[in-house]
Amino acid sequence: MVQERTLPQFQAPPAQISPEQGLVLYEDMILGRFFEDKCAEMYYRGKMFGFVHLYNGQEAVSSGVIKSLRPDDYVCSTYRDHVHALSAGVPAKNVMAELFGKETGCSKGRGGSMHLFSSEHNLLGGFAFIGEGIPVALGAAFQSRYRRDALGDAGADQVTACFFGDGTSNNGQFFECLNMAALWKLPILFVVENNKWAIGMAHERATSQPEIYKKASVFGMPGIEVDGMDVMAVRAVAQEAIARARAGEGPTLIECLTYRFRGHSLADPDELRSKAEKEAWLARDPIKRFEAYLVEHNLAEKGTLKEVRDRIQTTIDDALTFAEESPEPSPDDLYKYIFAED
């Protein structure tokens, strides 16, 4: 096991968050966790197919960033996209139905786990190939700037948050897009979820400079390292980057140090990561940590948190029923959606 990086310290003053905002974050993290646990159950019961990549352990990143955005901002994800979609507001039942391949899924059952989309929620995807979502996110950010500066729409101040992993930060599209984003001062957040592994490739074995946030500096862009197991820390960093982007001051690279609590996908036997490493990170569970924070700072009572969990459990159960009872796409529609006119 390689030497663990020292996590940056962050002390959130309690006044920074209201009880209501605290519960929004908590509920979102619980939704992500419970949803993924249900997916694992359904996959092993043979109800769900394909490659399914779960997000357990990384919830503080999705909630901390996306819950700091406005509904008209854009979110771009990878194949590990269920929880980003949920944070962006795509209803759990439509995500679950998509995983069941149903017509009521957010991609009408045509996409599957790695291709979640929702134009209604400005979710750009669901990109199954490494790095390909980054330029697409860049395009959405360019579009905001184009509307503001070429079309004179002063209200076009939307920000795009683009998520991807440590392994992906070795891909050319990452560097090409950092360059263009900085060059054109585009309103975008590059959010690297450094969970230390790219399937079986340890981050340190894949990159000559493991501190990804430092790669921002050569593009003249702020690069920030944050404890990705601390939703308050992620939120604070995200809010600042979003404010800069919205003000026309350009992009930010945020490296969130995090960990996935399950294998790479549900098909991964997860044999390479050491027990010691897993235990060390499990002990830093972002949900338990945030629960303790909320209670300690009198932002929520334990009973209230339990109510949230119970409510979310119902949401998940309802989502499952909805997905199971929904119709499959009609064979008559096999060719639908190839062209814009279909």
């Binding site: 854009y74 996409g111 697409v136 599209q173 814009a340």
Partner: protein
Amino acid sequence: MAETLLFNALREAIDEEMGRDDTVFVLGEDVGVYGGSYKVTKDLYNKYGELRVLDTPIAENSFTGMAVGAAMTGLRPIIEGMNMGFLLLAFNQIANNAGMLRYTSGGNYKIPMVIRGPGGVGRQLGAEHSQRLEAYFQAVPGLKIVACSTPYNAKGLLKAAIRDDNPVLFFEHVLLYNLKEDLPNHEYVVPLDKAEIVRSGKDVTILTYSRMRHHVMQAVKGLEKKGLDPEVIDLISLKPLDFDTIGQSIKKTHRVIIVEECMKTGGIGAEIIASINDRYFDELDAPVVRLSSQDIPTPYNGKLETLTIVQPKQIEAAVENMVALKV
């Protein structure tokens, strides 16, 4: 209107569409300040500004993906491939995202974008700059593929491509940019999905596109002198193929020769033959003949290069042979 060069016809199309719709913008390498390597975007930078005629870094896959993202969020990008061959570096974004994203998203997004630029075998440009990518892309679902061949159709087709709500790969030919033609003064648009009957005739159907149309027409001069009467169809749309026009012609001539600049193996002609077999086998009086480029990297040497692509004499001979076999 005065004679217009093909590259200027393209430029007019872009200028008119940018004037008509302010969500239309151009991006690519050297499209702005430099005016495009074949001057298709000359002066548009001054007219429309740096965001609407965006000079990009040399990062084909990323700026293509960026155009996809811009198209998904309501803009109408026109990518100029400095040379269409460079788009091999953008293959992923063109195939996975421009082509397939609408389907995988279950109709959540449209991708109205045009990817245009020079392709084909030029004059001794060497293998990498002499590519015909149309065949590589024809298997990608969701893409429309168009090849222009005259100033008239170049302008009208490009305008249609820009207005289309789907991703369109628009092939120009590096040796056709200086073709001249009188263009109408009034605005016109040429439909993307219609083949063009260049010459109607009765003896044999010649299906061709892009620069080979002009090789075919040269061959036709010789054939006419020999009393032969071929029908020449410029396919225009390489995907989807216009089988209405192709089929009507086959029902008239019962003989087909395909003349193409792409390579024989896995080429556009290969696909056409397979489709003709499926649809019109009973109409044929002879096996379909295909004249394609040789299956080799285009050599630099001028003589070898000439041998690599189909020449008018070969087309003449092929037509004569086919007609001589007449039953």
